[in-house]
């Protein structure tokens, strides 16, 4: 058995294996998990020819340091966390990169630490990261300590095996073969469209209070992780927040505890909650939610249901169009390869 394609020298702040999630065990209290920014997970995967929901590395603010043990192509997407080859080229998000054996990959985080930079980047490998399926998913469940790499974040000494190691690692690569680049256009199909968020669109209810929520300039608090983010700002007026009979809550639910300071539920959120839900982030903007850094300023803007669905359809269409363009580009590369160069 050969070694891993990538070996971890430093795990970074919080690097976990995430895929499209584990939505079918919520009735047992198991959080759905999955990529906090599913759009960028999909882009990273498509850049290496994977289905959009394959398992990839999710990196948070400060990424890992990796050493390449076997040549491999990786896809990078999401926030620009400064990825580069040590003493060498920059690895930009929104494209695939060919890494050679012996390369050191450093992902030190955004040196400017601007709140407007996104929080999470994704690194995909051919076929997806090869870890066991647990309850139907390869996602790391940090609360339960299972999934991904033993249910925890990456650390020194871990190995990353791609599911298509042999094929991808040994395939001949034409010297002139271009890396695949996410086909940027305008609007929602830019690979980094979610990386400079200032606005989350929300739909109302079920509890009242959305009007007040929309008038306040919010800032993402330091209590921000995969479970949820606390919003700092002028607390909502009395009577909006409060407890309620514990009920199931969706990803993106905006809960308001009695203190009037909202919490937006993230990808690892608990399946049930006992605070009033005054609004829910629209499905199309969950990717934006996953890119919010502590300190980022944030407006919550109410939209109606048709607008929410138009936005979701635009995102799915953009992903399909991007996937098709990448397939065409990959087909052209294969032609070049088979023609000998």
């Amino acid at each position: 058995m050969t070694g891993p394609a990538l070996e971890v020298l430093d795990g970074g702040l919080l690097t976990t294996v995430q895929d499209a999630g584990r939505p079918d065990w919520t009735h047992l209290g198991v959080p759905a998990s999955g990529a906090a920014d599913p759009w960028s997970l999909a882009v990273a995967n498509l850049l290496v020819g994977n289905d959009p929901g394959r398992a990839a590395l999710e990196m948070t603010l400060v990424g890992p340091t990796l050493v390449v043990r076997g040549a491999i192509t990786v896809g990078l997407a999401g926030a620009d966390l400064g990825a580069r080859i040590r003493d060498g080229r920059r690895l930009a998000p929104g494209r695939s990169h060919r890494l050679g054996a012996g390369d050191f990959v450093e992902i030190p985080g955004d040196s400017r630490s601007l709140p407007s930079t996104g929080a999470r980047a994704y690194l995909a490998v051919p076929g997806g990261v090869d870890v066991p399926l647990v309850l139907g998913s390869r996602s790391t469940c940090l609360a339960g300590g299972f999934g991904g790499l033993d249910g925890r974040a990456l650390r020194l000494g871990d190995g990353i095996w791609p599911a298509l190691a042999a094929a991808a690692g040994s395939a001949p690569v034409g010297a002139v073969r271009p890396e695949l680049v996410w086909p940027e256009a305008d609007g929602a199909d830019r690979f980094d469209a979610v990386v400079t968020p200032a606005t989350l669109r929300v739909v109302v209810g079920p509890a009242p209070g959305l009007d007040a929520l929309g008038t306040i300039d919010w800032r993402v608090g330091t209590a921000a992780n995969r479970v949820g983010i606390r919003l700092d700002g002028e607390p909502l007026p009395d009577g909006i927040g409060g407890e309620t009979t514990t009920h199931g809550v969706p990803w993106g639910a905006i809960q308001v505890p009695p203190d009037g300071r909202p919490i937006i539920l993230g990808a690892d959120h608990q399946t049930t909650g006992g605070y009033r839900v005054v609004a829910v982030v629209i499905s199309a903007d969950l990717a934006v939610l996953g890119q919010l850094r502590p300190g980022a300023s944030l407006r919550l803007v109410a939209v109606d249901r048709p607008a929410a669905l138009r936005a979701l359809r635009a995102r799915r269409d953009a992903l399909s169009a991007g996937a098709a363009a990448l397939r065409d580009a990959a087909g052209w590369d294969a032609l070049i390869d088979s023609a000998g160069g």
Binding site: D24, H27, L28, T272, L309
Partner: protein
């Protein structure tokens, strides 16, 4: 009262069904924590699970005290059709419960026994709970261990079951400030419920004991030891 099982029969009045976000519905059966209503929510969730095999746009329902959250893909099914789907599941659950008859379920299954070391470092809040109620710690243990509990639903964390049937004399508010880390297996009380923490996690329940039984293991065919409707009994372990 504690030995009466929830019946799962529908309460009077039809449930409200409202959107939660652009991709979910909440079927609401009121604001009660009545075990009969929790069993009714489980029955509706089971009906949804059966029916969604033919409607893949509907996701896994999440039942709780008096509600069922129903996720759906809003680009694959219209809101009105999702509401109709939920309504039909409610009707199917009503029909199913009248066939099964009142009282079916909870009391027929085996009792899940959970051995507990009460007090000491395993139950750091036992003395405080006793003090609040003017009881001796051993009286709290006797009361807690003499009751039969029913699993109302699972939520909060993997395998975490809300147990109904706590003796009224033990109803206790949560701790004023939650602990950052509650050890796995801790047995706690909050309000009118008791529960076992399956995994180490933050939490605000009053901790009166601890068990070595594994409440959640993703590698087991049934990952969660507790299943809604089951009966639970706590068995005190005495120091020899």
């Amino acid at each position: 009262m504690p030995d009466r099982g929830p019946s799962g029969s529908p309460p009077s009045g039809s449930p409200s069904i409202e959107p939660v976000g652009d991709a979910g519905l909440l079927i609401s059966l009121g604001s009660t924590t009545d075990p009969d209503v929790a069993a009714w929510a489980q029955a509706i969730a089971a009906a949804i699970d059966t029916a969604r095999a033919a409607t893949p746009a509907i996701g896994r329902p999440v039942p709780a005290h008096a509600s069922v959250l129903v996720p759906f893909d809003p680009l694959a099914i219209e809101l009105e059709d999702a509401i109709d789907f939920a309504r039909q599941a409610v009707v199917a659950a009503e029909a199913g419960s009248s066939v099964a008859g009142a009282g079916a379920g909870a009391d027929d299954g085996p009792v899940i026994e959970i051995p507990v070391r009460y007090g000491g470092p395993d139950g750091p809040d036992l003395d405080a709970v006793a003090g609040l109620h003017g009881l001796r710690p051993d009286e709290v243990v006797d009361l807690h261990a003499s009751a039969r509990y029913h699993v109302l639903f699972l939520g909060f964390g993997p395998g975490f079951g809300y147990l109904g049937g706590l003796p009224a004399a033990l109803v206790t508010p949560r701790r004023a400030s939650p602990r950052e880390r509650v050890p796995a297996g801790s047995v706690g009380i909050a309000g009118e419920h008791t529960a076992v923490y399956p995994l180490a996690m933050p939490g605000g329940w009053q901790l009166i004991g601890r068990t070595d039984r594994v409440l959640f293991d993703p590698d087991r065919p049934d990952p969660a030891l507790l299943r809604p409707g089951a009966t639970v009994r706590f068995v005190p372990l005495r120091d020899e």
